[in-house]
Symmetry: C2
C-alpha cells in the first residue's frame, strides 16, 4: 500500500495537562453549548480558575468518544434544519478525477459514512450574512457571542481598556446582536458551510479576538491521509481557529472528506488546486466548467471558505514581470498563466457573480486570494499588489450583494515600515471586510526561522486591524511541515495574535498575562506552566535545568539560584514597604529621603 | 573535579559553510584590517559575492591558529600604546573572594598568561569619547567605519533609501569623521576597554547597524568554564556583536579571565553580581568600598562595559510595591534591598562621579541599568520605570562630563502599543545616548517561546531607534540556556535587528534580502542556504523533505512538487511577457485588455 493511503489513524486526545474542559450554555437554548478550557490555580493563589478560548473540539473532552471512522457529532445540524430554508438533495457523484484518477491500488478509501448534502431551497442565500441583514440572530451568532465573551465575564470587575485600537471598535461585552450587526455590515464573518455542521462556530473580524489559521495538506511529494487528519487535530489542540487543507496530488477528494468529517474548526481550501489536478496540471487547460464543478464538489462536502484568486486580472500580470520574485502565489501564478496563454480576462473574474450564486446556497465564505502578493521584501506594496487589492474591494461589494461572506487575503513579505499601509489600503478599498494575512515576513534572510520573521509582521498587522493571521512554520520555503512544525507554527501565531489583542486593547486579554505573571512572581511553577500557551514545552524547559519534582515548588529558579533571586528580594521589598507603611507611612518616609538624598548628593555642573 | 572546573576546551572553528573569511584593510594603515564574510554565488547567478558582517573573530579564519590557553591576538594593543597616554602598572592582586573563596578543590585554574594592566596616565580619560571630543579620529573609529560600510560600498550603484527612520540620520556612507562626531555627541559608543585589546572594534548607535548582545555565564546551579567559553565563541559565530558574562557563584574572576582573553567581541558584566558574592549574597552587607574594588578588578581584566543600576534611588523603591511583578532586575532588587535596609540613598548614585573617574582611565562604558524595568505586561511604562529613566538621563550627563561612554538599558515586558513611548522617553530624557533593550516581550503567556514574544518587541523598538538588542532565549524564565538555546537566541535577534535595519532605511541592508530572494526565485538552493542567517538549519530543513543531492539543483521544492510550482510558472510569465513585449509591446496589449475586460464584465449594481 502506498504511504499516502495510510488510514491508520492516531490522533491526540484528552485534556491538556492542568486544564479542564468545560461548556457554557446559552440561557435560552442548551444546544448552544460553548466549549472552553479552565485552568485551576494553586490554592495559595486564592484566585478563580482562568478560562481560556478552546479550539480543540471534542478531542479534549474526556467524556466524548472519538471515532475517526464515524466523524464528529453534527453540532450545528439541528440549527440549520430548524431554519426551514434548506433542502437535502442527491449530490454530485464522486468522479475519478476528483481523486486525481487514482487507480484502485492508489485510491485512498472513502470516508465510510455517506451524508446527503444540503443547500438553500430554490437557490436561496442561507448565509449568516443573509440572516444578519434580515435582523435575525442565529444560534451560530449566539454561540460566538458567548465564546468571545469568556474573559470579559470573568474580568467584569476590572475590565482594562488600555490600548491603541486604530479604529477598531471592540465593545466591553459582546452581545449576539453586536455579532449580527458586524456580520450584516461585512466587518466579520462566521465561516460555516451548512454541510460542515461538525464545526464549532467562530467569528473573524476586527472587533473580535484575532484568529489564526494553520495550513495542512497532502503534497504530490509526500504525506498521508492519517498524517493530515492527525495534523488537523494537533493544530486545533494548540489553538488553530481554522485549518486550510492545501492538498495537491492524488486523493484530494477523499483526504478532504476525512478531514471535514473530523474537524471541529472551519476548513478552507484553494479550489483551483484541485481543478488543476483535474487537467493534469496544465493551467491552460482549465475551464470555467471544470472550476465550477470543483466548487460544487467542495460546497457539498462542507468546505467553509474558498480562496479564489479572482483579482488576478489579465492587465495586472505584466506588472509582475520586473519583480524580484514574480508571482509566488500558486493560485495567482496558475491564473496568470491561464490569462496570458489565452490572452483573455480571468474566468474567475468574469464568472464572479455565478460563483456568488453558488456559494450563497451553502454559506461558503470567500477568502479573496492575493494572487499577486509580494514574495520578497523587494516586491512589497508594489503596483501589482495594490491593483489586485482594489479589485478585491470591487468583488467584495458584488459578493455582499449576494449575501456571501467575505474576507480578503493579504501578504506576504513586507518590511515593518510598509505594513501599516497594507492595512490602511485594505480598510479603504475593501470596505472593512476582514483582512486575513500570511505573516507578513519582515525580512527574507532567515529561512528556517520564518515563523519568527513573520510573527513580527503578524503581530503588528494584527494590532493594526487584521482579523486572522495565517501561520508560517519553520519549514516555510524549505520543506513540508511535520507535526512539530505545525505545533511551533500554531503556538508562534497564538502568541502573535495575543500580542495584537493586548495592543488593540481587548478588554480581557491581559487577564491571562496577569495571572501568569502573578504565578511567576510567586513561584507557582505549575500554574505558570499550565497558564502558558504550551505547558508541555514550558515544563520540559524548566526540567532540563532543574529536573527534580521538589524544584517545582522551589522559590527560586535555575537562573539565579536560591540565594540570589530578584523575585525573592522583591517580595522582601514589598513586605518591607507594607510593614513600613503601617508603621509610619512609606510615602512620607520616601519623600523625606528624596530631600535628604538631594542634600547628600550635589553633583557639580550636573546639568552641563 | 567538580563540573565547573572543566577546562577541557572545545570550541567551534573554521569558516561557515559557503563562506570565505576576508579582510578589508584601511588605505592608510594595514593594521586596521576589518574581518568580513563573503558568500560566493552560483555562476548562473552572474552576481558579485555577497559580503556580510562578521563577528566571529579569528575562530572562523582557517589561517589562524586557535589556542584557548594563549588567548586571541591583541589586535588593538599597538593602537592603544601608540597614543602614548597609557601606562602599564602592577594591578590589584587577585583575592580569594574574587573567586567566591573557592577552596583549592573547587578553584578553577587561572588563565595561564599574566598580563599587566594598562590605565590612563595620571588618571587621564583614555576613552573614545575623550579623543572624539578633541577631534581625534582613532584607529578604532577607522575600523568601525570600514566595518559599517560593507554593504554600502557594494551597493554603491543602487543604494536604496526606503524606510522610516524616526529621526535617525543614517548617512549613505560612513566616514571615520562621522563616527567620531557621533561618539563626541554621545549618540554612539565603541565599547573598548584598553585591557581588552583582543576585541574587534564595533560601534553601537542609532545611526549604525542595529547590534545584538548575547548573555552567557556560570550560575550557582550549573555550568562550567569550558562551557561558557564555548558558548561565547558559539554566540559570536552566529552573530552576537557583544556578550555579557553574567556569571554568579564561585570562580567568577577566573571564568571571566578565560572569556575575555578569548573573546573577539566586547564583554559586558554586572559588577554588583560579583560584589554580592563577596559578601556571601547578603545585599545589606554591600559597601561602596567592596563595589569599587570589584570595579577596579574588572577594569583591569578588560571588561568593556558595566551594567550599573545607579538609577535605583531610595525614593523609587516604594513605587514598585503595588506592581504585579515587583522588581525583576537582579541588580535592581539588590540595590533596592540595600537602600531599604539602610534607609539610605543608593551608594551607586552617591558615588557616581567616583565611578566615572575610575572607568574613564580604562575606557569602560556605562550600560546604565534599568533596575526598575517592568517584569510583566501589567507593569510596563509605570511611574517607577520612568522615574528611573529620567535619573539615568541625569547620570548620562555626568558621565559625559567625565568623557565616559554611555548606553542606557531598557525593558523588559511591554505590550506593542507602549513600545514607542519607551523609545521616545529615552530619547527625550537621555539625550540620544544609545538605547539597549532586553526584548521587550510583547506578552507574558508564552514561556518557552519568549525569544519570539520578545523578538516582536525587539524588531519594533530597533526600528524606532534602539541601538542594541539584548537577546532572549527560549529558556527565558525557565532555565539556563544551553548551546542550542544560545544559537536560537542569536539568530532570532539577528533577524529582528535586520528587520529593524530594513525598516529604518539602512541604505544597504536590503541587498542581502534581494540576493537571497533572487536565489530563491531561481532555485539556487545552495545560494539560498548560504545567504541565510543559519545555513545549517536551512539546509537541514530542506533535506528533511527532499534529502537527495539532486534535489538541491531541482527547479522545484517539496511544497508544490515538480508540476505545480508557482516560481516556475512565474518564470514562464516573465518569459512570456518579455517575448510579447518584443513582439508588440506588452504594455499596450494589457491596456487593450483592460478595456476589453471592462466591456465583457459589466456587473449590475456593483457599486451598491
Amino acid at each position: 500500500m502506498p504511504d499516502d493511503l495510510n488510514t491508520d489513524f492516531s490522533v491526540t486526545t484528552g485534556e491538556l495537562k492542568g486544564s479542564r474542559k468545560i461548556y457554557i450554555s446559552s440561557d435560552t437554548d442548551p444546544t448552544v453549548r460553548v466549549p472552553m478550557r479552565e485552568i485551576d490555580l494553586h490554592p495559595t493563589a486564592n484566585e478563580q480558575p482562568v478560562r481560556v478560548y478552546d479550539t480543540s473540539g471534542p478531542y479534549s473532552d474526556p467524556n466524548q468518544e472519538i471515532d475517526i471512522y464515524k466523524g464528529l457529532p453534527r453540532l450545528q445540524e439541528k440549527w440549520i434544519r430548524d431554519r426551514g430554508d434548506v433542502e437535502e438533495y442527491v449530490g454530485r457523484d464522486i468522479k475519478p478525477e476528483d481523486n486525481g484518477n487514482a487507480g484502485e491500488k492508489y485510491l485512498a478509501p472513502e470516508f465510510p459514512v455517506k451524508i446527503k448534502p444540503l443547500r438553500g431551497k430554490n437557490g436561496a442565500a442561507v448565509t449568516q450574512m443573509a440572516y444578519a441583514k434580515r435582523g435575525i440572530v442565529t444560534k451560530e451568532m449566539e454561540f460566538v457571542a458567548i465564546r468571545e465573551n469568556l474573559g470579559r465575564a470573568q474580568c467584569k470587575h476590572a475590565l482594562k481598556r488600555d490600548g491603541e485600537p486604530y479604529g477598531a471598535a471592540i465593545p466591553d461585552f459582546i452581545t449576539p446582536e453586536f455579532v449580527r450587526d458586524e456580520i450584516a455590515a461585512g466587518r466579520a464573518i462566521i465561516p460555516s458551510n451548512i454541510n460542515h455542521p461538525e464545526a464549532e462556530p467562530q467569528i473573524i473580524g476586527r472587533n473580535f479576538l484575532v484568529k489564526i489559521n494553520a495550513n495542512i495538506g497532502n503534497s504530490a511529494v509526500t504525506s498521508s491521509i492519517a498524517e493530515e487528519v492527525d495534523k488537523m487535530v494537533w493544530a486545533t489542540r494548540w489553538g488553530a481557529d481554522n485549518v486550510m487543507d492545501l492538498s495537491t496530488g492524488r486523493n484530494i477528494h477523499n483526504t478532504r472528506e476525512w478531514i471535514l468529517r473530523n474537524s471541529p474548526v472551519p476548513i478552507g481550501t484553494v479550489p483551483i488546486y484541485q481543478a488543476l489536478e483535474k487537467v493534469d496540471g496544465v493551467a491552460e487547460d482549465l475551464t470555467w466548467e471544470i472550476f465550477r464543478d470543483t466548487l460544487v464538489e467542495q460546497c457539498e462536502q462542507g468546505v467553509d471558505y474558498f480562496t479564489i484568486h479572482a483579482g488576478v486580472r489579465l492587465a495586472y500580470v505584466p506588472m509582475t514581470a520586473s519583480r524580484v520574485t514574480g508571482i509566488v502565489s500558486r493560485g495567482g501564478s496558475i491564473m496568470a498563466k491561464w490569462c496570458l496563454a489565452h490572452h483573455k480576462e480571468s474566468f474567475l473574474y468574469e464568472h464572479f457573480e455565478e460563483i456568488c450564486e453558488l456559494m450563497k446556497q451553502y454559506d461558503v465564505s470567500f477568502s479573496l486570494g492575493d494572487g499577486l502578493r509580494p514574495g520578497s521584501i523587494a516586491d512589497a506594496n508594489d503596483e501589482a499588489q495594490f491593483a489586485e487589492l482594489r479589485t478585491l474591494g470591487e468583488l467584495t461589494k458584488i459578493a455582499w450583494k449576494h449575501d456571501v461572506q467575505v474576507m480578503i487575503e493579504g501578504p506576504g513579505h513586507v518590511p515593518m515600515h510598509k505594513i501599516k499601509e497594507n492595512m490602511d489600503e485594505q480598510l479603504k478599498h475593501c470596505h472593512e471586510a476582514p483582512f486575513y494575512t500570511l505573516g507578513p515576513l519582515t525580512t527574507d534572510i532567515a529561512p528556517g526561522y520564518d515563523h519568527i520573521t513573520s510573527a513580527i509582521g503578524a503581530a503588528m498587522i494584527g494590532w493594526y486591524g487584521t482579523a486572522m493571521l495565517c501561520y508560517v512554520t519553520p519549514k516555510e520555503h524549505l520543506g513540508l511541515p511535520d507535526r512539530d512544525d505545525v505545533k511551533t507554527g500554531v503556538i508562534t501565531y497564538k502568541l502573535a495574535a495575543h500580542a495584537a489583542d493586548l495592543a488593540k486593547g481587548h478588554p480581557a486579554a491581559q487577564a491571562r498575562d496577569d495571572a501568569l505573571s502573578r504565578a511567576r512572581f510567586e513561584f507557582r511553577w505549575e500554574d505558570q506552566f499550565n497558564l502558558s500557551l504550551d505547558p508541555e514545552t514550558a515544563r520540559d524547559f524548566h526540567d532540563q535545568t532543574l529536573p527534580k519534582e521538589a524544584h517545582k515548588v522551589a522559590h527560586f529558579c535555575s537562573m539565579c539560584g536560591p540565594k540570589f533571586c530578584s523575585m525573592k528580594i522583591s517580595q522582601e521589598v514589598r513586605d518591607f514597604a507594607a510593614a513600613k507603611e503601617a508603621e509610619e507611612g512609606m510615602e512620607e518616609m520616601s519623600k523625606k529621603f528624596k530631600e535628604q538624598g538631594s542634600e547628600i548628593y550635589q553633583p557639580k555642573d550636573a546639568a552641563e
